[in-house]
Symmetry: C2
Subunit: 332 residues, 2 copies
DNA sequence: TTGTATGCGTTATCAT
DNA sequence: ATGATAACGCATACAA
């Protein structure tokens, strides 16, 4: 018996089965083939433990059944969840995922794109921060949370509606004077619309509001200072706070605790994202939940263009409110 | 000018630069080439925006610079952190990562291995649960947290030492009667040694302990029952609890709160993993921290066998204790 | 040192 | 329907 140092190839299978190379290829790809032939080939495949070589396939067909996902990291809950759901969606379609964790570094993002292109991926899904990212004409690309020009679809939550919903919820829950807190990149991106939505919601419900907006790198202490300034005789003038992310809400909750404010009795807090403890447990705070699974599905659908009408420039998916302990319970 | 529907190849570059194919190959791979040639080739590469085709490379060289990572999901913090750090380590070595999220499903794990093999990965890193996982002889494999036979290296934290450390910490912090709580798969794996380590630590410090061990699927309520049974007149008989993971600790903390027990005043709690809020914030509880970055590095080193002596069957990396609010502060 | 030729494993286009 | 043969883009042994 011959020891195979390398894996068996179609040629080996063909020889074993006593048929021609082309026949084996057809069997492997499920093309019509005479029944007796098919049987013999399948037998040979079993016997030799043959597996197709995706690299040879990809070289020939220039379709690799692989996509690249560019994401800042896999650790922050929202990103982690995106990765998980995109992976799941791809798996159903028998696609592989090349994970590209970029740390939100513009240079790294660009490098990873080059890598993906060299790797002949069938497409790229990217949650990126580089405003000047160069994507070659021929590479299908779907962006998450950031519009990147007309050629590229962008998938995102309905951030405006989410902000609005937060305002309405706070109003429904009895708030009279609320605050919007934000920290994040100064780049224009879709999540920025949460602010406008919130303002809109406050206006339509005649809810008084103030805003405190920081940029990445600004010290969180400014929030503490801001809140302190609004405390008179131990009482915070706000009875509701909308934080642009659950992550921020977490930090604000800590500050509030430190300042002796009770949540939700003294002040109610709503975050954004739908982050859960340990991924699958309770919400970390009352929150506007992003439809991560739907976002994942939409990205993949758009990228692979199955039964997709055209290439919509911007797809906004509906968000929902979830109680997470930092608001008063719904009256019912 | 010819419109390229497909990307330029080495042949195009060679023609553009007026040199032979082989010369271009050498330039691309950094092999010695006459300076004037090199210049012209590099110019042509710039001009045509040439990129190597990894698939052609891989087919020829049967090295793909790609590894597959099998992991249950990317959502639970410990897994998410592993993915992140492994990705980082691979990037430094210019390796790509095929992410395989298995949901800890034995069938899926096996399928993903076949996929990885078809994709000619240079190796696989796997945190898997299938006790009968079949890995072909020729595929380099490094396991995390589970020994998989003599041929395969396993990388893990020093779980035994971690358990022991937890016991010692509790003793140092004044505990007299402690409990060990565990839930998880009944499969034998490395983290199971936490129990033995804890027992050992208790014994050597003459610390009285009890255990409550559940298996996956058992209802968490049993922990609540267990704890209730140990409350006499509102007072819990345990003054320290070691939970096998931070995740479990989180749930136990909720139960303790419900039962009116104050942490850390009435009872101190130590978890395992080193989970942080939102990935980068404070620890979710006082905990035994796994050296995730080192684990990642070790896995990759072992897999790629650079300056690695032999193939050690089991590598245990040192853990450390971190204060996270659920124990009394260290006296100093 | 540079150029040429062959083959990697597959698919697809042909005749048969 | 089946079988031979030519690409796919690159690396490399070998000839120049």
């Amino acid at each position: 018996m011959k020891k195979d140092l390398s894996a068996p190839t179609m040629k080996d299978v063909a020889r074993e089965a006593g048929v021609a190379l082309g026949t084996v290829s057809k069997v492997v790809n499920g093309l019509p083939v005479g029944e007796p032939y098919r049987l013999r080939v399948e037998e040979a495949i079993q016997k030799l433990n043959y597996q197709v070589n995706s690299y040879a396939q990809g070289l020939k067909a220039s379709r690799t059944h692989t996509i690249a996902l560019l994401i800042p990291n896999t650790i922050e809950p929202f990103f982690a969840s995106l990765v998980y759901h995109i992976n799941l969606t791809l798996l159903k379609r028998k696609y592989r995922m090349l994970l590209c964790s970029t740390d939100a570094d513009p240079g790294m993002e660009q490098e990873y794109i080059a890598m993906a292109q060299q790797n002949k991926v069938d497409g790229i899904i990217g949650l990126t921060y580089n405003p000047n990212l160069i994507i070659e004409e021929g590479t299908p690309f779907v962006a998450i949370d950031r519009s990147m020009g007309p050629r590229i679809s962008c998938v995102t939550s309905d951030n405006f509606a989410g902000g609005q919903l937060a305002a309405e919820k706070l109003a429904d829950l009895g708030c009279k004077n609320v605050a919007f807190l934000r920290i994040g990149s100064s780049l224009t991106n879709e999540p920025n619309k949460r602010k406008a939505g919130f303002e809109n919601g406050c206006l339509s419900r005649e809810l008084h509001y103030e805003m405190k907006i920081l940029n990445d790198g600004d010290p969180y202490e400014e929030f503490e200072t801001f809140l302190k300034e609004h405390i008179q005789g131990g009482k915070l003038s706000f009875d509701g706070i909308f934080c642009v992310t659950d992550h921020l809400a977490y930090r604000i909750l800590k500050i509030l605790r430190k300042l002796g404010q009770k949540v939700p009795e003294d002040v109610q807090v709503i975050g954004f994202d739908g982050t859960r403890h340990f991924g699958f447990q309770e919400y970390t705070c009352s929150t506007i939940v992003q439809p991560v699974s739907e976002i994942a599905q939409m990205c993949v659908d758009l990228l692979l263009q199955d039964n997709m009408p055209a290439k919509p420039p911007l797809v906004c998916l509906p968000v929902s409110y979830a109680y997470g302990g930092t608001t008063l319970e719904e009256e019912r």
